[in-house]
């Protein structure tokens, strides 16, 4: 083995140790005859590791990206100057409003009435995703996500009334969990949060009128929270019963989806407290 190869092997072994938390000095002690060559390289590597470790995205970024990923990557990070397709948010507002109307108060024709498993159902969910993407404000997105969660619950009721619902029920529970998560995540993105104020709308002598940003955020919080609470009140006993009556072969998967939905919706409610 040439000296250069020796250095490469030792460097590699030392870097593994650095990555595992060892210090440069500890590594050098293992290779005294190569220490002079290794030291500057290991110091460079150590600097590099310290720099990269200092990068830590905020919890908000982490939560926002996850919500978007689970929603199929349709909803992108809000951009300061430019929105979807490079349009400014105000340009998108009329289109979003029109689509919102279409999506929330009745998708055109048969697609609106379709249920999971129907040929037109993908059209309906596609329209919903587009609407969610184009809705410009986080508050609007939060309300829409909560509305979509309610819609999934209604679809499950209709499937059951038709005597159907195998894997579709699990998929609907998964979507309900996702919409609960989205509603809370979008709410958290509404600007105007100021932790130094203490609890919003808190009683007592310190309570004072909320600035407009906080008031909007509070209004959305109350509305989304109410929608989620109503959903839990109506759906939780219903799904318990559905899981209990499911054929034994289907019960574990349904139970898992049900528990996952409950966790997500309660987590969302806690974050909206």
């Amino acid at each position: 083995m040439t000296r250069e190869q020796e250095i490469r092997e030792a460097l590699s072994a030392c870097l593994d140790r650095l990555l595992a938390g060892a210090t440069v000095e500890e590594c050098l002690r293992l290779y005294p005859s190569l220490a002079r060559d290794l030291e500057p390289l290991l110091r460079t590597a150590s600097t590099l590791l310290q720099t990269t470790a200092s990068v830590s995205p905020t919890p908000e970024v982490r939560a926002r990206v996850l919500a978007n990923v689970l929603a199929g990557g349709q909803e992108r990070r809000p951009r300061g100057r430019r929105g979807v397709l490079g349009w400014r948010p105000w340009m998108l507002a009329p289109l979003a409003a029109a689509l919102l109307g279409v999506a929330v108060w009745g998708v055109s024709g048969a697609a609106a009435q379709s249920l999971p498993g129907d040929p037109l159902y993908p059209v309906k969910t596609w329209q919903e995703r587009i609407t969610l993407t184009l809705t410009p404000s986080p508050g609007g997105k939060a309300r829409l996500a909560a509305t979509l969660g309610q819609r999934r619950a209604q679809e499950a009721e209709r499937l059951l009334a038709r005597g159907e619902g195998g894997k579709e029920l699990e998929a609907l529970l998964d979507r309900m969990a996702l919409h609960a998560h989205q509603a809370a995540s979008y709410w958290a993105r509404i600007p105007g949060d100021d932790p130094s104020r203490g609890p919003a709308l808190g009683p007592g002598p310190r309570a004072r009128p909320l600035p407009p940003g906080l008031a909007r955020k509070e209004a959305v919080r109350q509305e989304v929270r109410r929608m989620l609470q109503e959903m839990v009140a109506s759906q939780d006993p219903r799904w318990q019963e559905i899981v209990r009556r499911a054929p034994p072969g289907r019960r574990p998967a349904l139970e898992r989806a049900y528990q996952q939905w409950r966790e997500e919706v309660y987590k969302a409610l806690r974050s909206l407290e």
């Binding site: 250095i7 490469r8 092997e9 460097l11 590699s12 870097l15 593994d16 990555l19 595992a20 500057p40 390289l41 110091r43 460079t44 590597a45 600097t47 590099l48 590791l49 310290q50 720099t51 990269t52 200092s54 990068v55 830590s56 995205p57 970024v61 982490r62 990206v65 996850l66 978007n68 990923v69 689970l70 199929g72 990557g73 992108r76 990070r77 951009r79 998964d174 969990a177 996702l178 898992r256 996952q260 966790e263």
Partner: protein, 191 residues
Amino acid sequence: MKGKGAVPGLDGLVAQAQQGDRRAFAQVYEHLFDRVYRYMLLRVGVPEEAEDLTQEVFVRVWEALTRYQPRGLPFEAWVFRIAHNLVVDRYRRQGERGAAPLDTASSLAGSHDPAEEASTRLDVQRLHALLGHLTELQRQVVLLRFVAGMSIQETARALNKKEGAVKALQHAALENLRRLLTGKPLPEGKG
């Protein structure tokens, strides 16, 4: 040695996520998010763009998860290969190399005093610019080893290279970074 990402339970979580378990996927995401984000930030240098690209990586992972074969690439190497391909696509579309011009090397260099070398502090922007002076393969090795935390073996598999070649690239990359940090020019044909 296994990469620092190879934690017990990750394979199980990946298997659950492949069955559509969102909670398991969220745990996989938590486990990898920081490293993917750092990787992207050091590739593109702009936090907002790094966030978008990180999101795109996980969207692709989520969409392709059912096709992932545990007997092929290790999961983390598979994820970072997706990340790498995404960056390559992005540069191809934009027709840019993503590197700082070479004539800015001296302005990016740190102290010329070897005594201060040990305490040289880098910020991410500067590190991004320094990495731009390495060859694409050297940069890949640095990012996979020091940002993704992958072992030599995993890095070699992710890059489809022999382990010896990865060790040589790693050595050359660190030597070049050391020179750049101390304000020395890179030898001809080494950058």
